[in-house]
């Protein structure tokens, strides 16, 4: 029973990380129709900031990572994506793929291709004992942080004036614009939010591994993107659940697959993704709205 609960908590924390990554991707997709593959490099940028500045001063590292993530997110849009607003989501995805490769080489040039290690928030690596259950503090922090951020984004989107504008823009950008919503501000706010979420993912991942290399953020982004797609890219809530499901499944496969099969845990996740997309081609929570067949 106890190992089961333990693995459940691990799975929840893994799910929480990918839910955050998927939320960042889902928010941007909602407004810009951009499935941003380069989100991974935003995470990597924030992770480098955390790792390099943590020994100097930890509040500075936290602030710097958030600033770097937001700046990267806005810069990417300014340099590339704003020039191709009218293009198809597929073209945008390919372009973001290019931006991702570009930034990876950029990091390689500045920080070197090799893994940089250090320790971020070393206090979190301890475990606490609760009734015979050894709980990894970091896993709890990940769950709590993700919970706070998800709630925060939810409240922002549903309660604040700006949040409602973002939702309106996600529903129908052109009509929202005609109704007087300032598109530039909405886009900037959305990108900023995705930057903050990427910084949170970077914090949890660097605290877990303590090592960053130029492709650091790729895995979280791939799983986040896949999670967002299987959850339903046009529903922000769907993206979160999808991302969570991917992380949860990955972690459970890791701890419960019989030996001999455990090498194939990632393969099982991808197989699951294909099966889910076959059953619900537009994503689990896409709703009944007929999607244009493209």
């Amino acid at each position: 029973m106890i190992p089961f609960i333990q693995s459940l908590i691990d799975a929840t924390s893994a799910g929480a990380v990918y839910a955050l990554a998927a939320l960042g991707i889902g928010l941007v997709f909602g407004v810009l129709r951009l499935a941003n593959f380069a989100n991974g490099e935003i995470i990597t940028g924030a992770a480098y900031a955390l790792l390099l500045l943590w020994p100097v001063s930890w509040p500075l590292a936290l602030v710097a990572s958030i600033v770097v993530a937001i700046a990267l997110s806005l810069l990417m849009d300014l340099a590339v994506f704003r020039w191709m607003r009218s293009q198809s989501p597929a073209a945008l995805l390919i372009a973001s793929f290019g931006v991702s490769i570009l930034l990876q080489r950029f990091y390689e040039g500045i920080f070197g291709a090799r893994v940089r290690s250090g320790s971020v928030a070393p206090a979190l690596t301890q475990s606490v004992n609760v009734g015979g259950l050894r709980l990894n503090l970091l896993a709890l922090v990940a769950i709590v942080l993700a919970g706070i951020l998800l709630l925060g984004v939810h409240l922002f989107l549903s309660r604040s004036r700006m949040g409602l504008q973002v939702q309106a823009a996600a529903a129908d950008f052109r009509v929202a614009r005609i109704l007087g919503i300032r598109s530039g501000v909405v886009i900037a706010v959305t990108l900023g939010m995705s930057g903050v979420l990427a910084a949170a993912v970077a914090f949890i991942l660097t605290a877990q591994s303590g090592a960053v290399d130029p492709t650091f953020g790729v895995q979280a982004t791939v799983f986040g993107l896949i999670g967002a797609v299987i959850g339903g890219l046009n529903r922000v809530g769907g993206a979160v659940v999808g991302g969570f499901a991917v992380g949860f499944a990955l972690s459970l496969f890791t701890s419960w697959l019989p030996s001999g099969f455990d090498d194939f845990r990632v393969a099982f996740v991808y197989l699951l993704v294909i099966v889910v997309l076959l059953i619900v081609p537009n994503g689990i929570f896409a709703g009944r709205t007929a999607k244009e067949r493209t």
């Binding site: 407004v31 810009l32 129709r33 499935a35 590339v80 020039w83 191709m84 607003r85 009218s86 293009q87 198809s88 989501p89 597929a90 073209a91 995805l93 390919i94 372009a95 793929f97 290019g98 931006v99 490769i101 570009l102 080489r105 950029f106 390689e108 040039g109 823009a169 129908d172 950008f173 052109r174 009509v175 614009r177 598109s183 886009i187 790729v218 791939v222 993107l225 896949i226 797609v229 890219l233 046009n234 090498d263 194939f264 990632v266 393969a267 991808y270 197989l271 993704v273 294909i274 997309l277 076959l278 081609p281 537009n282 994503g283 999607k291 244009e292 067949r293 493209t294």
Partner: protein
């Protein structure tokens, strides 16, 4: 090129039969590849090495065009079939003695298998095609971004299986070494030419025309009785088979094969080649690949250092991919339909078009250009 005219009258007054016009779209890519190869192989020894990779990439990109270009559906998963082809080629041509030492857990029938390189090439194509056919039944019902993500999941699935399943390969994550160099540049070029002919021939087929109809209008084509899914599966299988051949050629060019090689960088390079050339035409696939290959070679030379007026200029290593990425992003922004504009090679002696308005009719425009230039135009 799918000219709807039965014939055209040129400026001298005699008409050109449509078969000549369509053969022209095959002849130009073939001659270009032949000229490129004979030029490159005589340039220098390093150029000849790069040329081998360029031809392997060319086969892969032409294979990708066969599906992506005709169907308009994005696939990030073609490297899965390339990997399957490379794996087949390696398992069938590495000598059994070497195999038993680097792959002790290999299934018995694979451990003893050894065939002629040319037979292995064909089997690689069959394996790639079958993988595509089987996965196509599942994947081809999807559209748009979902199709892109699902094909990507397929690639990752195949890579994971090839990495860890020691019954069909080396121990987890290790590489297969000692793949014999079976084809010289000349025969590699002939394989590439044959692949172009097959891809072109498929493009002329009834099935491909129906598929292009569904690409141009996803609603009208099914309404005219075209089964989009069925023709997509056919295209996927043909394309998978050609990609398998590309993988086999790549394996014997690189001579070391490892599952992790078929990852994001390779996917990106080949997609960039297709996008830069223009993904809607075979000519675009050829132009994009040869251009990037030539650029890669030049940059590779500069990376090693070039002497310009007494000063040695050199680029940092890894700058090749940066240049390709920048070029691709610029092309997507400035000329979304690629260098060739998605057109096939054109018959140069065209008559002056008496109806200029109709000139745009044969031109394939990506669907996106029709949407108004509003930010994030609603799907």
């Amino acid at each position: 090129m799918t000219s709807s005219h039965s014939s055209r009258t040129n400026r001298f007054g005699w008409s050109v039969p449509s078969s000549v016009l369509s053969l022209w779209t095959l002849a130009v890519p073939l001659v270009t590849v032949w000229l490129f190869t004979s030029l490159g192989s005589n340039l220098s020894s390093s150029a000849a090495i790069d040329l081998g990779y360029a031809l392997a990439n060319l086969i892969v990109v032409v294979a990708m065009w066969t599906f992506i270009g005709n169907s308009g559906v994005l696939s990030f998963g073609h490297l899965a079939f390339v990997a399957a082809g490379a794996w087949t080629m390696s398992l069938l041509t590495i000598s059994p003695l070497v195999k038993s030492s680097i792959m002790p857990d290999l299934a018995p029938f694979l451990a003893d298998a050894s065939v002629e390189p040319f037979v292995a090439l064909i089997i690689a194509g069959v394996v790639g095609g079958l993988t595509a056919l089987i996965s196509g039944f599942a994947l081809m019902r999807l559209h748009g971004l979902e199709a892109g993500i699902a094909t990507f999941a397929l690639l990752m699935l195949v890579v994971q299986v090839l990495t860890y399943w020691s019954a069909i390969g080396p121990k987890s994550g290790q590489s297969m070494t000692g793949v014999p160099r079976s084809f010289d540049l000349q025969s590699t070029m002939f394989v590439a030419l044959i692949v172009i002919v097959i891809a072109w021939g498929y493009g002329q087929s009834r099935s491909a025309r129906m598929l292009r109809a569904s690409r141009e209008n996803a609603q009208a084509a099914p309404a005219s009785g075209i089964s989009t899914t069925r023709h997509r599966i056919i295209a996927f299988a043909v394309s998978g088979a050609l990609a398998g051949v590309g993988g086999a050629i790549w394996a014997q060019t690189n001579r070391v094969v490892q599952a992790s090689q078929f990852g994001l960088d390779f996917t990106f390079t080949t997609i960039a080649m297709l996008i830069i050339g223009g993904m809607l035409s075979l000519w675009g696939a050829v132009v994009g690949t040869l251009l990037i290959a030539a650029l890669n070679h030049v940059l590779g030379v500069v990376e090693n250092g070039v002497q310009i007026g007494g000063v040695i200029v050199s680029l940092p290593s890894g700058s090749r991919l940066v240049v390709v990425a920048v070029l691709m992003v610029l092309i997507i922004i400035l000329r979304p339909s690629g260098i060739t504009g998605g057109r096939e090679a054109r018959w140069p002696f065209r008559p002056r078009d008496p109806f200029p308005a109709a000139a745009g009719r044969n031109r394939v425009q990506p669907p996106s250009e029709k949407t108004p230039a509003a930010a994030g135009a609603a799907v």
